[in-house]
Each structure stands twice: as structure tokens, then as C-alpha cells.
């Protein structure tokens, strides 16, 4: 994710200048003299942009997402100012790109960084309020043996209540007023008329979400003693006696289990914990500071396998660039020689692996490397039972082989292009000066090819560093490192380790830890790329 994808500067609003009769040296934006078609088109486009922008602003306001709200307002105001002023010409071109950069790069990176400082993951997904609600609803259970009563939702002076039918009598009550007998029921079903109360028709209830909420939340005590429980309904037609054992005290930030007397206090890491260490099931997302980063380096169960993964990631990324590049270069030189017949056809054949979808090739190779049924053991190793996928070193070799097979045609293409662009006079001069083939290769071809390909090698390194597809599809990072958490395996690279830790594929999710690791990977790749690009400048001076 940290490979910067080219931001597509979709310039939706090309500032069109009306055709002016006399050519002007001024920028055309300043040349604008009145309302032309260009202005009308701009107006229409800006109207659409403003409409969508306002919609987003309203939505963000409603969702109380203040950061998005502020950003959306800023961007919209900026867009209006920039496109309706005669100044700020460069910004007219830059703004769309900058906006996309903000949304797709800066925001994502910022959000990942934010998650890295929380314990967002299994058991900590919501807000504290949601955790309290969950604890209260999980702590409320139907009183054993309580039958289902036919129930009617009733109303009196705007206050909602329930009326149930029990033993031929109608009993009615509200949240504050326990059930009382108010009359005799005519049949066995729910009461259609409740003396002294207005019956709320079910259809009114269903079409009013606010009232639905109120009804679902409503508890009508069955007697003066709260420990007898209260009537609640789930669908509005039947009720049963429920008893809640959990009490929330917002001032002390504690939940008390009245059945056992246990007090659960809110802790800094987002759980309700009792003094003896027991916790309530539902926690919330809490800011945990650097805990995730600290854990990456101090938890030996995690640090050791991750250390292995990191070393392998570097080896993988470097070898995935060097080997295919060397192979591609050699083949390019060979097949650039005019003495080779049918070069065009051969070159086309070389490109084939590059043309296959990588994930499909990886899957195919996985089958071919199968120790017992795979063709590789059968054809090339005389049916020997070589455990390509099960042995850590063989698996690393196999996945590297697959990646080399997939990527060397790319370098073959690139190097062929670079070699064909070499200045023929320099080579001729070298051979006149008596340089041999090897000397020419080392002193002229290689440096010149490197100047052209070095930026590609660096970006390939960054790509290989995060080449999730091959690793995941070939062997899913396996074979597993014995005892490692999150099923970390011997061929896992950092990005696939992040995938395993995040738990998106199942298991126990830990987004906070996965985000922390993502940030570290981003920093590593960024640093290496920056250093490497600095080195390439030296190569260019060589030219």
C-alpha cells in the first residue's frame, strides 16, 4: 500500500478560455473577457461539484464526523475560490490532483496511523457506549418459567406503556408505574381496548422508528419490587418477564452485577474488569499509545517470528530484483545479437510468463510443487518425494523460483529496450580501442543500462517487498513456524504477516497491531527508496 500509485489528476474542470482573436502572451486564464461557452461549462461542472460537496458536508455533519466535515468544507471552498478567481492559475490544474492525494493517500495513511495507536480488534470494535449497551442487554435475561403474554402497546398523555393479558385480566403499566389490573379481557388474544389508555395501533408503531426504539427500550415492572423483573417486548405483540442483573453507573464508570455483587470498572485499555481480573465480554476501542509498537519489539513470542519474517522479506525483495534482472539482462544481450535467427518470435515467447495473471500462475505452481501429486517431482526428480511446500528452505526456494519465472520477462523487455538505445558510436569506439566483449559489457553496457533501469529496480524492490499475491496464493506463507502466533509461516513476508495479524481472514483480529506493523513497513520501504534514489543520481553523473 505504500507504493505510491500515480495520482490520476483527473482534471474535471479544464479552465477553458474563450477563443480570442489575437494571440496573447498572457496566460489564457487572464485573458478571459466575458461570458463564453467555456464559462457556462465551467459553471455547470462547478454546480455539480458543489452539489456533491454539500451533500458530503451535510452527511458528515449528521454522522458527526468532524474531521471529514472540516476537510470537505475546506476543499469545497478552496475549489470555488480557485475556479472562480482569475488568479491562482497553477492551482486550477493542481487542485484535483491534490484533492485525490488528500483522500487516497494522506487520509489513508493518517487513518492507519490512528488505528496503530488504538487496540481496535477482536473484542474492541465499538464505542464505550455500545459496550455498555451490550453488557446491559447481555445481562438481561428472561425470568425462568415466565410465559409469553399477549401484549398491546398503549399510550397516555404521551407516555408509552404496555398492557398484557393474564388470566383473563388486562394489566397495564408504564416504566414508572408497575402493572395494575385495569379491566377484564374479552378474549385470549392481546387487548384491543384498554380502559383509561389509548391503544397504539401496531401500524403506527411500525412506521415510526423513534417509537419503535422507545418500545424496545421500555421496561414495565411487574411489581413494586424491581427484583421481580419487568415486562419487555421484542416485536410488539408479546411480552415476557425479564430481569436485568447489570447496572451502569456513568459517574463512577462502573457496571455492577447485582446478582453476584461484582463491580466491573472501566479500564484504560477498553474493557470492564473486576478486581479479580474477570472481564465483561464486550470492550471498546481505546487509545493505547505506543503499546502496539512496544509489543512488536518486546513480546518474544511475536518478536522472534517477526524477526525471521523481516529477514526473509529483505532477502525475498532483494533476490526478487537481482535474479530476474540478471536473467533478463543476459537474455536481452543474447537475443539482441543479430546472429540469432527468429529473434522476434523468441522474444514474444519470452514475454509469455509476464502475460499470465500472477495469482493464477502461483496457484498452478502450488499444484505442480505438490510433493506427492505434483509434476515437478514426477518429471524432474524421478518421482522423488521432495517436500517443496513443507520444508521451510525448499518452500522459500520454490516461491522465489515462481517469482523469478514471473518477473524475468519484464526485465528482459526493459533491458532489450535499453540495449537497443545504447549509442552505437560508443561501442564502436570501444572496440576500436581494443576493448573485449567483457570489458564492453562491464564498462559501457552495464553502466548505461543501469542508468535507464535503476529507478525501475528501486520500484521493483518496493513492489516485491509488498508482493502479497504470490506469497498468499502460492503457499499462504506456509509452512508454519512452530509455535508462532497468527499462523506466521516461513515464507511469510511482512505484508502477508500483517494480513494474518489483522485477522481479516478469520481468527482473532488485531487491527491495531497490524496497523502499527504497516506503519513500520511504510517507513522502511520509504527510507530504502529514498536512499536508493539518491544513489541513482550518482549513476547519472557517471554518464
Amino acid at each position: 500500500m505504500s507504493v505510491p500509485q500515480g495520482t490520476i489528476a483527473a482534471d474535471t474542470t479544464p479552465p477553458k478560455a474563450p477563443l480570442s482573436p489575437a494571440p496573447s502572451k498572457e496566460p489564457h486564464g487572464r485573458d478571459w473577457r466575458g461570458l463564453g461557452w467555456g464559462f457556462l461549462v465551467k459553471l455547470a461542472i462547478m454546480a455539480v461539484i458543489n452539489a456533491f460537496g454539500l451533500m458530503g458536508i451535510v452527511a458528515a455533519f449528521r454522522a458527526e464526523a468532524w474531521l471529514i466535515f472540516a476537510a470537505a468544507v475546506l476543499v469545497l471552498v478552496a475549489a470555488d475560490i480557485i475556479y472562480f478567481t482569475k488568479r491562482a492559475l497553477p492551482l486550477k490544474y493542481l487542485l484535483p490532483g491534490l484533492t485525490f492525494l488528500l483522500i487516497f493517500q494522506v487520509f489513508i495513511f493518517g487513518y492507519t496511523a490512528y488505528i496503530a495507536f488504538t487496540n481496535y480488534g477482536a473484542g474492541h470494535v465499538g464505542s464505550q457506549e455500545q459496550a455498555v449497551n451490550a453488557a446491559l442487554s447481555q445481562g438481561e435475561r428472561r425470568v425462568e418459567g415466565s410465559p409469553s403474554y399477549p401484549l398491546t402497546v398503549i399510550e397516555q398523555n404521551g407516555e408509552l406503556g404496555f398492557a398484557i393479558v393474564e388470566d383473563g385480566e388486562i394489566k397495564a403499566g408504564t416504566a414508572d408505574q408497575p402493572l395494575q389490573v385495569v379491566g377484564d379481557a374479552s378474549g385470549s388474544g392481546a387487548a384491543t381496548e384498554v380502559p383509561g389508555w389509548n391503544v397504539v395501533p401496531r401500524n403506527t408503531l411500525i412506521s415510526d422508528p423513534a417509537m419503535q426504539d422507545a418500545v424496545v427500550e421500555l421496561r414495565v415492572p411487574i411489581s413494586d419490587d424491581p427484583n421481580d423483573g419487568s415486562i419487555r417486548t421484542r416485536e410488539g405483540t408479546t411480552g415476557a418477564v425479564y430481569l436485568s442483573t447489570m447496572e451502569w453507573n456513568p459517574d463512577a464508570q462502573t457496571i455492577t452485577d447485582t446478582a453476584t455483587g461484582t463491580v466491573y470498572s472501566a479500564t484504560a485499555d477498553g474493557t470492564f474488569a473486576a478486581e479479580d481480573g474477570t472481564t465483561l465480554a464486550t470492550g471498546w476501542t481505546a487509545n493505547v499509545g505506543f503499546a502496539n509498537f512496544v509489543r512488536l519489539f518486546t513480546d518474544p513470542d511475536l518478536f522472534e517470528p517477526l524477526g525471521l519474517v523481516t529477514v526473509w522479506t529483505f532477502a525475498w525483495a532483494i533476490l526478487s530484483v537481482l535474479i530476474p534482472f540478471a536473467m533478463g539482462l543476459v537474455f536481452a544481450i543474447i537475443f539482441n545479437d543479430e546472429r540469432v535467427k527468429g529473434r522476434k518470435i523468441l522474444r514474444t515467447l519470452f514475454i509469455l510468463p509476464y502475460a499470465f495473471p500472477a495469482f493464477m500462475s502461483a496457484l498452478l505452481f502450488r499444484g505442480m510443487f505438490n510433493a506427492e501429486f505434483g509434476v515437478i517431482n514426477e518429471f524432474f526428480f524421478g518421482g522423488a518425494n521432495i517436500d517443496w511446500l513443507g520444508d521451510p528452505w525448499l518452500a522459500r526456494g520454490a516461491v522465489l523460483f515462481v517469482n523469478v519465472w514471473l518477473t524475468y520477462p519484464y526485465y528482459f523487455l526493459v533491458c532489450t529496450g535499453a540495449i537497443q538505445a545504447l549509442p552505437a558510436d560508443a561501442l564502436e569506439a570501444a572496440s576500436i580501442d581494443g576493448a573485449g566483449r567483457f570489458r564492453q559489457l562491464r564498462s559501457i553496457i552495464l553502466p548505461l543500462v543501469l542508468v535507464a533501469t535503476a529507478p525501475l529496480l528501486i520500484s521493483s524492490f518496493a513492489f516485491s517487498f509488498n508482493n502479497f499475491t504470490i506469497i498468499y496464493m502460492f503457499n499462504n506463507g506456509g509452512p508454519a513456524i512452530p509455535g508462532a502466533p497468527y499462523a506466521l509461516g516461513s515464507t511469510d513476508i511482512l505484508i502477508s504477516a500483517i494480513w494474518d495479524i489483522s485477522g481479516v481472514s478469520g481468527g482473532k483480529a488485531d487491527y491495531g497491531l497490524a496497523s502499527a506493523l504497516s506503519i513500520l513497513v511504510f517507513i522502511v520501504v520509504g527510507l530504502i527508496s529514498a536512499l536508493a534514489f539518491r544513489q541513482t543520481k550518482k549513476l547519472e553523473e557517471y554518464q
Binding site: 487513518y111 412506521s207 513443507g390
Partner: protein
Amino acid sequence: MRKLGIGVAALAATTILLAGCSGGGNTPAPDETDAGPIDASGVTLTIWTDANRQPAIEAAAATFEEETGATVELVEKNFDDIRTDFTNQVPTGEGPDITIGAHDWLGGLVEAGVVSTLDLGDVAGEFEQVALDAFSYDGQLYALPYSLETIALVQNTDLVGEDAPATWDEMVAAGTASGAERPFVINTAGQTGDAYTMYGFQTSFGAPVFVQDDSGSYTTEVGMGGEAGQAFAAWLGEKGETGTGNISTTVDYDTNNELFASGKAAYTIQGPWAIEALTAQGANVKVNPIPSAGGETASPFVGVQGFYLSAESENALVAQEFLVNYLATEDAQRALYEADPRIPAWSTIAEEVSADPVIAGFVASSQNGVPMPNIPQMGSVWDLWNAAQVQIIKGADPVSTWDKMVADLEATIG
């Protein structure tokens, strides 16, 4: 990370939000206090389902829409994605009202606070008790069950007849005598390991993954340590790649089914979902309970699937109405069975469909089975458990590998 999508989507979502505000409009319905169908026009229920179950839910939804005027929006999702997506999206308010799901997710969903408790009332008696138990957590029911699934011994009747082998040895002997290339084949999911499929053999040694208390609820005490677990580990090593070779990590799901379907293996252990693949090349099969390897009854995991109600549903009343009065009916349950034949959780339909010998075989196997634990700790088990089994199958020292796995597991669960 998915949460992020929602943050970004706020802008895009506005379109939908505003459309909903302007278009929906709560038209007050004509009064009708009669207990008949409700009028829920203007209410939209969102239900997540997978592709298999979609037609059946569509049928129940159509009746519901017709009778109540509500709109049911079915969102088709990959079953494996539902758990994570549901957990992450419900707290943001973007999740569905109802989702299909498996019972072993329950502990995690409760931990995340995203599912609502459910009261089926009197309909509860129509369901198999094991299905209700599976969807109960800490004594509360959280979902409407609809199907059971389990794995069983599938045998090629052309090779080994219909008789169920009682023990592993009997099975291997019969399989070898049949002249098939392999007496028995079992899926290990390649190098990943498949403790789920292996669990019947493990329980026959008396080594359950977690200990059950008297009421049948799972505790967090790991049950596969000690002598029973070590005996299973030793057995696994003995049958593994460096032993008799009956169990091999070169066999993944497709290889397993191919070997059986082509008649190269006499027995396999699979679930009802694989029957089509196993019989694709004309093999005649009989489904029997899993034979015992360690002397005790082999109890495979029983999985239950059903419908969860979101804790943040804005239409809780309507959603309850749909679940209890439209999905918890015999007709709807039968339609679900016909759409995707799994063992029904509705008792009378289960009896009815047992006329099919294949289904009857799986029903018999499920009666030996135990529900898969639904406690959140189960999520931490698979990785270590699968990996240890693979190592033992590949020839690592069984007892020490197993003991280390159990120790690691206990440390992880805490």
C-alpha cells in the same frame, strides 16, 4: 482497515442517505388493530446472505413484502467475509438488520457487542435442542437456527460395501482388502492442516478441544492436553507421512475429493457439501458415522447456521417480526432446505428428509457429534492446532510437539 472504507464512503454514502430521506417518507398507515399482518411500508430490512441461501430467503422475503409492504433488501456476500464485515460494520451503523451466520462466530460477536438477544417464544420447541444450545451464549439465545452440518465417513460401496466399520483398523483393513490404491484418504488442507476434519478421531481418544461443563457449555479449559491428547498425537504421527502414510499433507480438499471420486480411495471423511464432488464420476456412496480410532465414540464437530439480529438495527421490531413469524415457520424452513440441502434444524423436517440415505447418514453422524465451541477463545485455537497437526503428520516428535502446542494455546488464551 475496513472501517476506513466507511469513513471515506461518508461522502459517497450521502447519495444513498439523502435518497432514502426524500424517497422513503413515512406515510401513516390506516389503523388496523387486528393482529394480522403488520403494515410496514416504508421500512427497509437489510439482510446479508450467501449465494446458496439467497433463493430461499428471497421466497420468505417476498411473502413478507407482500403481506407487510416492507422492503427487504438482500445483500449477497461471500459467507467467509460475513463475520468480519458484520463485526466491523455494525458499530458504525452501516451493517444489516439481519445476517446469516455460523454458530461458532457467536462468542466473537457477543464480545464485539454486535448481536442482539432473541426470544423465539413458543416456536423454540420446534427446533432441535442442539441447534438452540449452539446459538446460546451464557444462557441467552442469539439467533434463529436453521441448519446443522457435520462431517461423516463416506465410503465407496462398489469397493467396500455398505457396512460401517466400527474402528479405524477395521476400516483400513477393509479398504486395503478392496484393492483400492489407498484404503483411506483425508483432507489436511495441504500444509495448513485441518483439525476440523480430524476432530472425530481426536475425540475418540477423549481429547476435546475445550472441556464442557455439566450443562454442555464449553469452558475455557483446554481439554486436549495430558495423556489423552498425547495418545492422539502419537496415533497421528503413526498414521502420518513417516508412518503408514494414511494421512498426508499432500492431500488438500480437491485432491481428496478427486482421489475418492475416481475410485482410488475407498473411504474418506467429508461433509454434505462435498457429496456432489465425491459422486461426480459415478461412485456409489454410503454415509456412516466416523469410526473410532482411540476406543471412544468419534464425535465430529456439529456446526449450526442461522440468522443473527444486529444489535444496532433501527428496525428491531420489524426484523423480529420477520425472523419469528416469517422465517421460523415450517414452510420457510422447508424452502431453505430445498435451496441448500443441509440437515434441517426444524425437527419435523429433519425427520422428513432422513428418507434420503445420504442425509440420514449425516444425521446419524451428527447425533454422535458435539457442537463446535462458540466461545471467543475458539478463534485463537485453529492456527496453533492446525500447525501442530501438520508438523506431527510430517514426522515431528508427536508428544513434545503436541505438548508445546497445548502450552502455547493456554498461554494465548490466558
